[in-house]
């Protein structure tokens, strides 16, 4: 069954007829071409598909698109400024060599964007907990934590 839904995706109002069984990840990827949203499991285990819904991070693979009615959805594509510049966390990922295969990267960046909304700082152990919903097989999390600490750390490494 199809249902018409309205949401704001990356600052733009969209109106779509979606299958009521469809996940937000599929809608974003397949209908809106927002392929930064990665799927590593499809069942809420890996965090690769993380996007923000009204500022809160969700695993979009287990979030039905119909639930997003009237909400604001943000993906990594929505972070792009007019001049192509990067957000501080994106730059920190590059500078700290926190990117390897890059498949977990967009999801982690969205969690970082969520944290930046809190205006708080965190210890390394708090950050470990906050990113523990994201699996990464390449980095051992070391440089990812360094990137997070650089932006949100209580005592960032210099």
């Amino acid at each position: 069954m199809l249902k018409i839904i309205h949401m704001n995706v990356n600052g733009k109002e969209v109106e779509l007829a979606v299958d009521i069984r469809e996940s937000l990840a599929d809608t974003l990827r397949d209908r809106l071409g927002l392929t930064s949203v990665k799927k590593g499991c499809g069942v809420g285990e890996c965090g690769a598909c993380t996007v923000l819904v009204d500022g809160t991070s969700v695993d979009s693979c287990i979030y039905l698109t119909v639930w997003a009615e009237g909400k604001r959805v943000l993906t990594v594509e929505g972070l792009r400024s007019g001049d192509g510049g990067l957000t501080p966390i994106q730059q920190a990922f590059i500078d700290e060599a926190a990117v390897q295969c890059g498949f977990c990267t967009p999801g982690l960046i969205m969690t970082a964007v969520e944290l930046s909304g809190t205006g708080k700082t965190y210890t390394r152990d708090e950050l470990r907990r906050l990113i523990s919903g994201h699996l990464c097989r390449c980095t051992g999390y070391e440089n990812i934590l360094n990137a997070f600490e650089k932006i949100f750390g209580k005592n960032p490494k210099t």
Partner: protein, 770 residues
């Protein structure tokens, strides 16, 4: 100087902005979906498949069964093809298999308009089987009454090998007495790669040719295997590799590309995709082999290693894949890492069973072999009563070591320096002493392990790599490699190498990250730890050629002999004074558009590499174990690597972190659990315990940087080594903490608690803490 510079990754921007395109990001709009129909038994034969109900599902386009595929068996491992028949890979599977050898075997496929229809139909196919007893262990498969998993291999032995080094006889030395005898059985478990991007491909036809876009480490090999599996000319097959979300060896196997290509031919060449689920990835692709080592050794009272005997049994699972190459590699580290004064006897077997198929996984048999070797050496030091680090220093591979069979040598040697560096970092001597006599429920220990690792695959297999450099109109360069970026950072170090060898700045070198067999020069791909070494040599060779061609053109234009000039910072300069004679931009414009002499300057070269060298290193761990709950906490961990000169230290460090984390998963919790019917029980990322950020301590990486004369830029292996020594180091630290020899991986809480209870370390009725 580009070598040794912490250049940022060339693909980082694309990855942090989400613009990097992986295979699933490129599906054509009209793409059909295929789902593999999987067997629900592990050993047997498909008698019939009734697809009538399944075909009624709306959206189903076609259903193919194991009775509909070409009668061609093909090999899948990512090895270079061997022109000698006896060295060719084992061709033991068809596109779909009537003879079922693993649970979830590929017995059919549904092609449908969408995923839901395909899945629904796959479930509605009625299959009848002739069922045999699943053979899950090496013992069961080698028993006389066992069924024959592959007709061609009676006794289910895929292959065996053996050798002897030195004079004499192990049993004789043992009987002679006077020596300390140690024996043990050490076992490793099946684990899975867990790259974040699942195996995924799509295929379509274009003007009579098949195009396959796939997440692979080995695009040129995929092309060859598709041609073998379909009986189709290689020239008619085009394979494209986009960005890859990790592979770790699983994508060094040709998984579903041949089936995908075949399915596209059945629907008039329309695009068809196969995207595995995570559950299929864990349960139905490849795993790291579970290997059992039966080890014996003799040492004298001074701690000299006199003799050892090695017997290894590798559980291959249902299909050969990389087969005995992995077991043989595991036997090799036992031989190479230590030398016996007397004799070493070695025998190895790789055996078909009905568990998930073993293949390549980061370290190619060496993580298993190093666990066996380093746990055993620790036990020998223990029996002799010697500090295990001293025992290692005394008996380990020395500078100048050369493998007596393969001829691979240590052309640079930093093993002992790695040990000393790790010793100082972890405060080995103080802590060995401090933790020697502990009691109580929470105890600490320090442990270590060393390893050696050959960089490429010469002389076991061919090592060849090609590179192409193309001048652009503005004096910048297009760099085309057959070697594959799969996440490890290859494109960045290739760019640095190309800059180093041509004088063109890295910013002006544009590497093509998508391999396309129609365009990319030949290279066998991302495996072993070969690319910076073997493909690096191709860059160096091509760079020199490219430079000489540019200088020849400059010479023609400037009337200065080519050997008086050089290229630095994107300009042709006077070799002596360094004065700029002509910018490359100006030279390129002239070369492209000159009315006198127009030429597109390009260079291409193949490096057939006949070198190989050992990288080495060590891991040191300090841990704390909470005995009543069986929980290990890593207090500190460092890997020290002897990997030659580092091309990009920051990326090298990142590579080490990833390997260490994988090693910790191997040590502490990862295990693919197989039930008595051969079914994987934890084939998902919730139940299969790969480390999260909360499970991972801070990871320390250090290097002993000694240039290797055989490496193109003084470099040698680094990709796989970091994953190797971690598990035995953890095991040895646990021995130090508790005095208990754990000889099987993983060291999970259940295992620990059961053993601690048995040993009386946990208070039960009638026992108390010791």
């Amino acid at each position: 100087m580009e070598i040794g510079k912490n250049r940022r990754r060339v693909d980082a921007w694309a990855k942090v902005t989400g613009t990097a395109k992986y295979t699933a990001d490129l599906y054509p709009a009209n793409c059909l979906t295929a789902k593999v129909i999987r067997s629900t038994i592990a050993n047997g034969r498909v008698v019939s498949m009734d697809v009538r109900e399944a075909l009624k599902v709306p959206g189903v386009v076609k259903i193919v069964t194991c009775f509909d595929v070409p009668d061609i068996q093909f090999p899948t491992p990512g090895h270079p093809w061997s022109v000698e028949k006896s060295h060719q890979d084992i061709a033991d599977r068809k596109l779909l298999n009537e003879r079922v050898r693993v649970y979830g075997d590929d017995i059919g496929a549904v092609i449908a308009e969408d995923e839901l229809a395909a899945e629904k139909a796959a479930r509605l196919v009625r299959v009848t089987y002739e069922t045999y007893e699943p053979l899950l262990s090496v013992e069961a498969a080698m028993a006389p009454e066992a069924s024959r998993i592959h007709e061609e291999k009676p006794g289910n032995i895929v292959a065996s090998s053996g050798f002897k080094i030195g004079e004499g006889d192990f049993d004789r030395l043992k009987e002679d007495g006077g020596l300390i005898y140690v024996s043990g059985t050490y076992t490793t478990q099946s684990v899975q790669h867990c790259h974040l991007e699942v195996p995924v491909s799509f295929a379509y036809m274009e003007a009579g040719r098949i195009v396959v876009v796939t997440s692979t480490q080995i695009p040129h090999i995929v092309r060859r295997v598709i041609s073998q599996a379909l009986g189709m000319d290689m020239g008619k097959i085009r394979v494209i590799k986009p960005y890859v979300g990790g592979g770790f060896g699983n994508k060094q196997d040709v998984l579903y590309e041949p089936l995908n290509a075949f399915l596209a031919t059945l629907v008039g060449g329309r695009p068809v995709k196969i995207e595995l689920s995570r559950e299929e990835t864990l349960g139905c692709t490849r795993v790291r082999h579970a290997i059992t080592f039966k080890l014996e050794g003799l040492a004298d009272k001074e701690g000299n290693l006199i003799a050892r005997r090695f017997t290894g049994y590798s559980n291959q699972g249902g299909y050969a894949s990389h087969a005995h190459a992995i077991m043989a590699n595991a036997a090799n580290i036992f031989k190479q890492l230590y030398q016996d004064k007397g004799v070493l006897e070695s025998k190895s077997y790789t055996v078909y069973t009905n568990i998930p198929t073993g293949g390549a996984m980061r370290g190619y048999g060496i993580p298993q072999g190093d666990f066996g070797t380093e746990a055993f050496i620790e036990d020998m030091a223990w029996a002799v009563g010697m500090d295990p680090l001293e025992f290692r220093l005394k008996n380990c591979m020395k500078a100048g070591y050369k493998d007596p069979h393969l001829g691979i040598a240590c052309y640079s040697y930093g093993l002992k320096d790695c040990m000393e560096k790790g010793r100082a970092y972890i405060h080995w001597d103080e802590k060995r002493e401090a933790y020697a006599h502990q009691t109580g429920p929470v105890r600490r220990g320090v442990g270590m392990a060393i390893f050696c690792y050959k960089t490429g695959v010469h002389p076991i297999s061919l090592e060849t790599a090609s590179c192409r450099m193309i001048l652009n109109q503005d004096g910048s360069m297009q760099l085309q490699m057959g070697a594959a970026e799969i996440g490890q950072g290859a494109d960045t170090v290739f760019t640095q190498m190309a800059a180093e060898s041509t004088g063109i700045s890295a910013e002006k070198i544009h590497i093509q990250t998508f391999q396309d067999t129609d365009v990319s020069p030949f290279d066998t791909g991302a495996y072993a730890s070969r690319q910076t070494y073997v493909s690096g040599k191709a860059i160096r060779k091509t760079g020199l050629l490219f430079k000489s061609k540019i200088l020849a053109y400059a010479s023609e234009k400037l009337h200065i002999p080519g050997d008086g000039m050089d290229i630095r910072d994107d300009a042709v300069v006077d070799k002596e004074s360094g004065d700029i004679l002509l910018t490359l931009g100006a030279l390129a414009e002239e070369a492209f558009y000159s009315l006198d002499h127009s030429v597109h300057i390009t260079a291409e070269a193949t490096s057939h590499c006949k070198d190989n060298t050992f990288a080495t290193g060590a891991c040191f761990v300090e841990l704390e174990v909470d005995i009543p709950v069986g929980k290990i906490k890593i207090r500190d961990i460092i890997n020290v690597h002897d990997s030659g000169r580092l091309i990009n230290p920051k990326l090298a460090e990142a590579q080490v972190h990833g390997g260490m984390s994988m090693g910790l998963g191997y040590a502490l919790g990862e295990k693919l659990i197989i039930d008595d019917q051969g079914r994987p029980r934890n084939a998902d990322l919730l139940d299969y315990k790969m480390p999260t950020a909360m499970d991972t301590p801070d990871l320390h990486a250090a290097f002993v940087e000694i240039a290797d004369e055989t490496g193109p830029y003084g470099n040698k292996a680094l990709g796989e080594p970091p994953a190797i020594p971690v598990a035995p180091a953890v095991r040895n630290a646990l021995l130090h903490a508790t005095g208990i020899h754990f000889n099987a991986l993983p060291l999970d809480p259940q295992t620990l608690v059961e053993r601690f209870m048995k040993e009386g370390l946990i208070e039960t009725e009638g026992t108390a803490y010791v």
